[in-house]
């Protein structure tokens, strides 16, 4: 596997691709990488500094932690504070600030908050602790939905009454459509998220490419992958084409992963979702199907309505829409740092602000 990865980190190959991009690119092109994993890879390796100046990379909303509404973080915090609850989550969510508190703060006050690598471990916890309520924070795009669906199916098969999900699942294609439909949109081409496309396949992206006349290229996460995707996008733009071209063919199939898609469809249904920074987007998320309502933490627990408050300084909305870059935020690196984050984009491993902060470019 690692030898495989090394090819995609080869500096020689990367330089050749950069040369080709510079040779082909004539007109200005604004490319959005949807996925936060791409944002981090770009900033870590410095790709954005090596491109010709007419190519601009803007960072998209593909950070599940970042687009989870404050209201849901507040609900998580409320649940985690209950004595009967073991609240479980991917580690990224723990430091995301809610209106007043983060899950990490609840944990330091004695709340039972645990970071896990798999929702199936949360199901095991529920089996081992029949006297406790185990809640898993089901955050993420199409990539984490299959695992969470499996966890629910497993809990149902075991007849567990003490396992539930706090669901905040979102879908990529509706977000792309919402961005393209916005009058403020500047994006002319997309690097599509490689892992998401591995699950979902390419059909929805083909419809967007044709409908909005934008080139779209799903890409892997190594520097050579990203440069190859940029080259494909630039070539399309120069030739006036708008298609889906698959850079990440070692992982993405046109039909996606049918088994994973079936599992998700069996447990979840498409619903409207509010995205932090983007607002409500129709049919842009997943909720549990009525037959799995017993595993829905929002229905199971009486969560009194929560008045969510965002930090007035944080501009993560504009960052998630690709309108602004982190260094343009007056709070960036000053009031807002990974140690004291004002918004989720500074917390997550996929957030644009944390990518810029970790590379410490503001200190050069």
């Amino acid at each position: 596997m690692l030898k495989y990865l090394d090819e995609y980190r080869d500096p020689e190959l990367a330089r050749r691709l950069l040369g080709e991009i510079a040779a082909v690119a004539r007109r200005p092109l604004v490319i959005m990488e949807i996925c936060g994993g791409h944002t981090h890879a770009i900033i870590r390796s410095g790709i954005d500094r090596l491109l010709p100046e007419q190519i601009e990379l803007v960072h998209g909303p593909g950070c599940p932690v970042c687009v989870t509404p404050v209201e849901l973080v507040d609900k998580a915090v409320a649940l985690a504070g209950r004595p009967e609850v073991i609240f479980t989550s991917f580690g990224d969510m723990l430091r995301v600030p809610g209106s007043r508190e983060s899950l990490a703060m609840v944990r330091s006050r004695g709340g039972d908050v645990r970071s896990l690598y798999s929702p199936l471990v949360a199901v095991e916890l529920a089996v081992r602790h029949p006297d406790r309520q185990v809640v898993f924070f089901a955050v993420g795009f199409e990539t984490t939905a299959p695992g969470n669906a499996l966890a629910v199916r497993q809990a149902a098969r075991l007849g567990l009454k003490n396992f539930s999900l706090l669901v905040s699942h979102v879908l990529v294609p509706p977000a792309i459509t919402a961005l393209l439909a916005s009058p403020a949109n500047r994006v002319q081409a997309f690097i599509a998220p490689g892992h998401v496309c591995t699950v979902t396949g390419l059909e929805e992206y083909e419809a967007i490419a044709a409908g909005y006349r934008v080139p779209i290229v799903p890409a892997g996460f190594e520097p050579v992958d990203i440069l190859a995707a940029i080259l494909l996008l630039v070539r399309q733009a120069e030739a006036g084409r708008a298609e889906v071209e698959n850079e990440y063919s070692r992982s993405v199939r046109r039909e996606g992963n049918p088994a994973a898609r079936r599992t998700v469809a069996e447990v979840f249904q498409v619903s409207d979702r509010t995205w932090r920074g983007l607002g409500q987007i129709p049919a842009s998320g997943l909720t549990l199907r009525p037959e799995f309502a017993a595993f829905d933490a929002e229905q199971k627990f009486d969560l009194s309505p929560i008045q969510a408050e965002e930090s007035p300084l944080c501009i993560s909305g504009a960052i998630l829409r690709g309108e602004k870059k982190p260094p343009q935020c007056p709070a960036f690196g000053r009031q807002c740092t990974p140690t004291h984050p004002l918004g989720a984009t500074m917390v997550s491993n996929e957030g644009a602000c944390s990518a810029y902060f970790n590379a410490q470019r503001h200190r050069f």
Binding site: M1, L2, L5, R9, P11, A14, R15, I43, R44, S45, G46, I47, R49, L50, R95, A104, Y117, S118, V121, E124, P223, T337, P338, T339, N349, N358, A359, Q360, R361, R363, F364
Partner: protein, 366 residues
Amino acid sequence: MSLSIKPEDFTCPLPQDNSETVQLAHGGGSRLAAELIEKMLVPAFADPVLARLEDQAVLNPELAAGERLAFTTDSFVVDPLFFPGGSIGELAINGTVNDLAMGGARPLYLSTALIIEEGLPLEWLRRVVAAMSAAAAAARVRVVTGDTKVVGRGACDKLFINTSGIGVVPSGIELSAANLRPGDQIIISGTMADHGMAIMSCRQGLSFVEALRSDTAALDGLVAVILAAAGMGGRESGGPSGALRAMRDPTRGGVAAVLSEMARASGVGVVIAEESLPVADPVRGACEILGIDPLFVANEGKLLAVVAPEAATPVLNAMRAHPLGRQAVIIGEVRAANPGLVALRTLLGPHRIIDLPAGELLPRIC
């Protein structure tokens, strides 16, 4: 290399529980306590000063003119107690030996204090003490005094160990993180992140085709070799301007934390090259899967040495001839620009700054 995450394959070598456990009575003045000390601890360390069982160790080290004492302490709370490549026992000895050695000191004496949670299987304690004894013998350091406390269930987690150490710094050796100068070369003694990732995979129940092993080791022997190669093995060897400027073992916070401390203490910039950073393949795989940068992960048997440019080749060659330095390599150099900052030159060429991580990376790894 193929990787898989299968909690059911969890292979951390936890010893079998048997009914014999540590009781509160093992801690305080009773016959049980005396038995624990006299039957297990004293024989394990086999030291005449310890065997006297006085309240203090009375020592008479022979110091030559200009030699000074180095004194350090560290506490070990790693969870799990046993992991591939070692246990809390080796860590507790090697960690303190290494802290002495990084100052150029020859380790002489250690103290060891055990804080044991009631209910710990006695067999586990025996294994830890045996590991400490073997590690101390390997590092040729004497355990001359100790203490044992037993606390109630929940008052600590299984077993905590504190060790303090005394060593002798030869005349003329003044190593310090504040000694770095532009042009100095930065050498690492081997691969990064082995210990931290071994603990992480154990804690998370990740299993890999090749098991990740901690690199815990005492570095005093390697340090002696480095000092000699830098021309600082004898008497009156150069003070702060000796060819060897500083050494640190990159434990918690990893290589990034050590370089960052050195850059700040010396008011210099440090530039390291991404392609030169040594990471073993299985460790790199685990880091990829967990999204962790090996630069920030703990090591327990590696050191960073900063040397004057003219000493870089002899020191590197000497290190490579030592079993703990076979994979030693130059990873970067000291610059005058960007004082206080560590920059990494990426594979593609641009630089990014390496800073300390914001929050917890791996809980209780040492």
